[in-house]
């Protein structure tokens, strides 16, 4: 998921001040499906695009722990609590895999984390929505992780080796996330009328933001073309969105829930579910910082970072102590 915000910034032109011969050889390697590795020559714009995309992806994993963390202490059973805890730990792990991948491009961890904390960096706007009930945890696993999987599977074949390899690790873990979410929805949908209403309410609130996770429509997306040529991206935003809608609508029907889109129709000819118009004004409002939780997410992240300072300090003090003890033992 998580890479939609990429499409909101204009990329540097690929050909700007690059040696045409090197550029041609680079493109030939990409076309031959070779992977580009950290020490290889690459155009500056390729490097910049990847640093931005991978770090936004990492930030999204880290911020994404917050909406779910909101229900950790109020999970309905110990079993659900353990499952949710495991999922949130995975998301933290995903953030770390991705920061490491970004660092191979010559940017420091400190710089990346700094960009997140200062508010300069973007992360997926889906995480600026609140989790109002337990059913939202089900909806997030099912829809948000479901959308993430659609987006991330093609990234396993991204032309940049370290990113592709991180995505393979991540995709292995995402399936559990989506299934635990859908199982929560199933339990609620088969429960009391009140529980089913909770599930429907969560679907009502998470459906459109999930559909928007794939980013602006192809006709409004500023630089899909270059990312496609470089095989950073394999499918357009609209193509991925369509895959997601086609996979998800029948899953909602199975639950006996209604997709909150009165215009949703099945097109027999193309075998696709066609959604009604998407409210892109809302999308841009949230991207630009006016979502319900933008401020809270960033404040929480900053506070957590500051509150964790003593842990980093203690780790260093302990490392120093251990070094000293080793030196003493060797002497």
């Amino acid at each position: 998921m998580y890479t939609q915000a990429l499409s909101t910034e204009r990329p540097a032109p690929a050909s700007a001040v690059e040696d045409p011969a090197l550029l041609a050889r680079f493109q030939a390697r990409i076309d031959a499906e070779e992977r580009i590795e950290p020490m290889d020559w690459m155009p500056k714009a390729y490097r910049q695009t990847l640093i931005r995309q991978i770090s936004q992806h990492a930030h999204s994993e880290i911020i994404g722990m917050q909406p779910e963390g909101n229900w950790l202490t109020r999970a309905p059973s110990l079993k659900r609590k353990l499952q949710l805890l495991a999922k949130i730990q995975d998301e933290g792990g995903h953030g770390l895999y991705l920061y490491s991948a970004a660092e191979t491009l010559g940017v420091s961890r400190e710089e990346l984390v700094g960009q997140l904390l200062s508010g300069k960096a973007k992360y997926s706007s889906i995480f600026n929505y609140p989790t109002l009930s337990w059913a939202d945890i089900g909806a997030i696993g099912w829809l948000v992780d479901g959308a993430a999987i659609m987006n991330q599977i093609p990234l396993c074949r991204c032309s940049y080796g370290p990113y592709a390899r991180a995505m393979i690790l991540i995709c292995k873990e995402e399936s559990f996330h989506q299934r635990q979410g859908y199982e929560i929805m199933m339990t609620l949908a088969k429960g009391t009328p009140k529980q089913k209403a909770m599930a429907q309410d969560a679907l009502n609130r998470w459906w459109w933001p999930s559909v928007m996770m794939f980013g602006p429509s192809d006709k409004d997306s500023v630089h899909s073309d270059q990312a496609m040529r470089w095989k950073i991206k394999r499918f357009t935003n609209d193509a991925l969105r369509q895959k997601f809608v086609d996979a998800t609508v029948p899953q909602a029907h199975y639950l006996g829930l209604t997709i909150p889109d009165p215009d949703l129709t099945y097109d027999e000819a193309s075998k696709h579910w066609i959604t009604g118009p998407i409210d892109w004004d809302e999308f841009w409002r949230v991207v630009k910082g006016e979502g319900p939780c933008n401020k809270q997410r960033l404040e929480t992240r900053r506070k957590v970072h500051d509150d964790g300072a003593w842990v980093r300090e203690a780790a260093e003090a302990f490392a120093a102590k251990r070094r000293k003890a080793k030196r003493a033992a060797a002497a």
């Binding site: 590795e37 020490m39 290889d40 020559w41 495991a86 730990q89 995975d90 792990g93 770390l96 895999y97 490491s100 991948a101 660092e103 420091s108 961890r109 400190e110 710089e111 984390v113 700094g114 904390l117 390899r165 991180a166 690790l169 873990e173 970072h305 500051d306 300072a309 980093r312 300090e313 780790a315 260093e316 302990f318 490392a319 251990r322 070094r323």
Partner: protein, 103 residues
């Protein structure tokens, strides 16, 4: 992030993490991490890279201890031993009659 009392996290050395899976294959690179010292690197590797029993054994290696071939040496490094150059190093180079059976 830097603050007065605390060195930035990225000044902690970088370690590469290798896991040996249960299936008897050798250690395989899975990613990297920062840690204040070797022992903590090992603990972090366990937490970050083995949440599902992926490893029977974990190696962490300071990234700066790895001696790597350079990408522009690739031609002299790999080219001499490719199948095109030395086909006779591969079993399919040799014609064995079908009557002999599987070999």
């Amino acid at each position: 992030m830097t603050d007065q009392n605390n060195k930035p996290e990225s000044l902690w050395p970088l370690y590469e993490v290798f896991l040996r899976p249960r299936n008897g294959l050798s250690h395989k690179h899975v990613g990297s991490l920062h840690a204040a010292d070797d022992e903590m690197a090992l603990q972090n590797a366990r937490d970050v890279y083995t949440r599902r029993g992926e490893a029977m054994s974990i190696w962490v290696v300071p990234s700066k201890a790895i001696i790597a071939s350079a990408p522009d040496e690739r031609d002299s490094l790999i080219e001499p031993s490719t199948e095109e150059r030395k086909p006779y190093r591969h079993p399919t180079f040799y014609d064995i009659p079908d009557e002999v059976g599987h070999m």
